[in-house]
Subunit: 208 residues, 2 copies
DNA sequence: TAGATTGTTAATCGATTAACAATC
DNA sequence: TAGATTGTTAATCGATTAACAATC
C-alpha cells in the first residue's frame, strides 16, 4: 500500500497569509497568546475553521490557553516560505509599474523587486525609482541568470499573455497579474489576479 | 405557502464581471456569437458552470448557436448595475491614493472618483490630479450630500477601521479596501480587499 | 479540580459537474 | 434533417461546521 498523500486544499493555503498578518499585528500589540476564537473574530472566520486549517500542518496550540503567537507566526512563515526573500521581476514600467516600484511594503514583506522590464525604447536604460529599466527582450536571459521565480505583470491586457509565456519559459513559477485578462499557464505555475474593477462590479450588484 | 426566494450565490455574482470583461474583448474582435464552451476556455471555467451561472438570471442563449455577444453583455451590464456611473469617494491621498486617481480605467468602467479625502493638513486644500483634497472631517457631510454609495480606502491599516465606520455611517454601501486589515462592517455593506502581499504569500507556498 | 480551549470526526451544507432532454 | 449547443436535474465532490473527547 502506497502512502496516502492528503493534498492540502488551496483555499486553506489562501487563508494562512491572513493568519500571519493578524499575528504580526498582535505581536506589535505585545500580545503573547491568542485563541482560535479571538483570531477568528478579528478576521471574520470561525474558530473551528482556523483550528482545522492549522491542523493540516501540525498541532500548534495548547488546550486551555490557545496559541503562542510568536511560535505560530514562525511556523506559518516557514510553511508559506515567508521567512526568505524572493526576488521579483516587474514587467511594465508605466504608471502602474512606477507605483509598484515605489510601494515599499513588497520588499518589507520579503518580495523585493529585483529587475524592471519594459519594451518602450523611451524607457529602456532610464532609471525609475532607483531601478534601471531593461529591455523586455532581455527577460529570458536576466530572469534565468538570476534564477527569478516570481514576477509581476503590469503591462496592457493585449501584451500580458505574451509576457506571461516568456516569463514561464524563463523559469518563473508565480505571477501576480495586474492586467485585466485571464492568463493561460501550465499547472505548475501559480497566478493571482489584481482586479479592482472586477471587484467593484461584483459589489455594485448589491447596490440599487 | 410563501414564495421561495432562491438567493443567488455570491460566488456566482463574482464570476459575472469576468464574463462581462471577456464579452467586451470579443466585441472588440468583432465577434457576434459565442458558445459557453469558448467563453469558458477563455476564462478557465467549465462551460457548464457558465450556463448554470447565467441560468440564475434568465435564458440568454440559443441552442446550436450559443449567445449573442452584444445581447448577453447588455444583460450582464444591467444585472451588475454596470450600465450606470457610480461616484466614488477616495479616502487617502498618499502615494497609493495618487496612483488610483491617475488610473483612468476606473471612470471608463463607470466607477468615477468624485471626491478625495485626507486628514493631512499638508494635503488638504491642494489639488491632486485635478481633484481638490478635502479634509477627512468632512466625509460625513459631503458623502451624504452627494449620495455617494461606493468608497475606496487607501489609508494606513491603523486608520482603516475608523474610516470605514465613518463611511458606513455616511451611507456608503460598498468599500474597496486597500488597507491590509479585515474590516468589520454591517451585513448590508459590501467589502472587497486588494492585497497583493497576501496573494504573493499564497503563491510562495508552492515555491521551493 | 474546574474552566478553557484544542484537535478531530461525522454531519451538514453548498458548489461543481455529469448526463441528457429540448431545440435552434 | 443532423449537428451543435443550451438549460436543468441529479449525482458528485469539496468545504464548513457541530459535536465532543482530550488535555492544559
Amino acid at each position: 500500500m502506497t502512502s496516502t498523500i492528503k493534498a492540502i486544499p488551496d483555499i486553506v493555503i489562501g487563508r494562512l497569509p491572513l493568519y500571519l498578518r493578524a499575528l504580526a499585528y498582535m505581536i506589535e500589540e505585545n500580545r503573547e497568546f491568542v485563541s482560535s476564537q479571538e483570531l477568528g473574530d478579528r478576521l471574520g472566520i470561525s474558530s473551528v475553521q482556523i483550528r482545522k486549517d492549522l491542523s493540516y500542518f501540525g498541532e500548534f496550540g495548547k488546550q486551555g490557553t490557545g496559541y503562542e503567537i510568536q511560535f505560530l507566526r514562525q511556523q506559518l512563515r516557514q510553511i508559506l516560505h515567508a521567512d526568505k526573500v524572493w526576488e521579483i521581476a516587474l514587467v511594465g514600467a508605466g504608471d502602474l509599474g512606477h507605483a509598484l516600484i515605489r510601494y515599499e511594503e513588497f520588499c518589507e514583506k520579503g518580495f523585493c523587486i529585483a529587475v524592471v522590464f519594459d519594451r518602450d525604447p523611451q524607457k529602456i536604460g532610464r532609471k525609475m525609482g532607483g531601478f534601471e529599466v531593461f529591455d523586455a527582450e532581455s527577460i529570458p536571459t536576466i530572469v534565468k541568470e538570476r534564477g527569478i521565480k516570481v514576477a509581476i505583470i503590469a503591462v496592457p491586457a493585449s501584451e500580458a499573455q505574451a509576457v506571461s509565456d516568456i516569463l514561464v519559459k524563463a523559469g518563473v513559477r508565480a505571477i501576480l497579474n495586474y492586467a485585466p485578462i485571464t492568463l493561460s499557464v501550465p499547472p505548475k505555475v501559480q497566478v493571482q489576479y489584481i482586479n479592482p474593477i472586477i471587484q467593484l462590479q461584483h459589489m455594485a450588484y448589491y447596490l440599487d
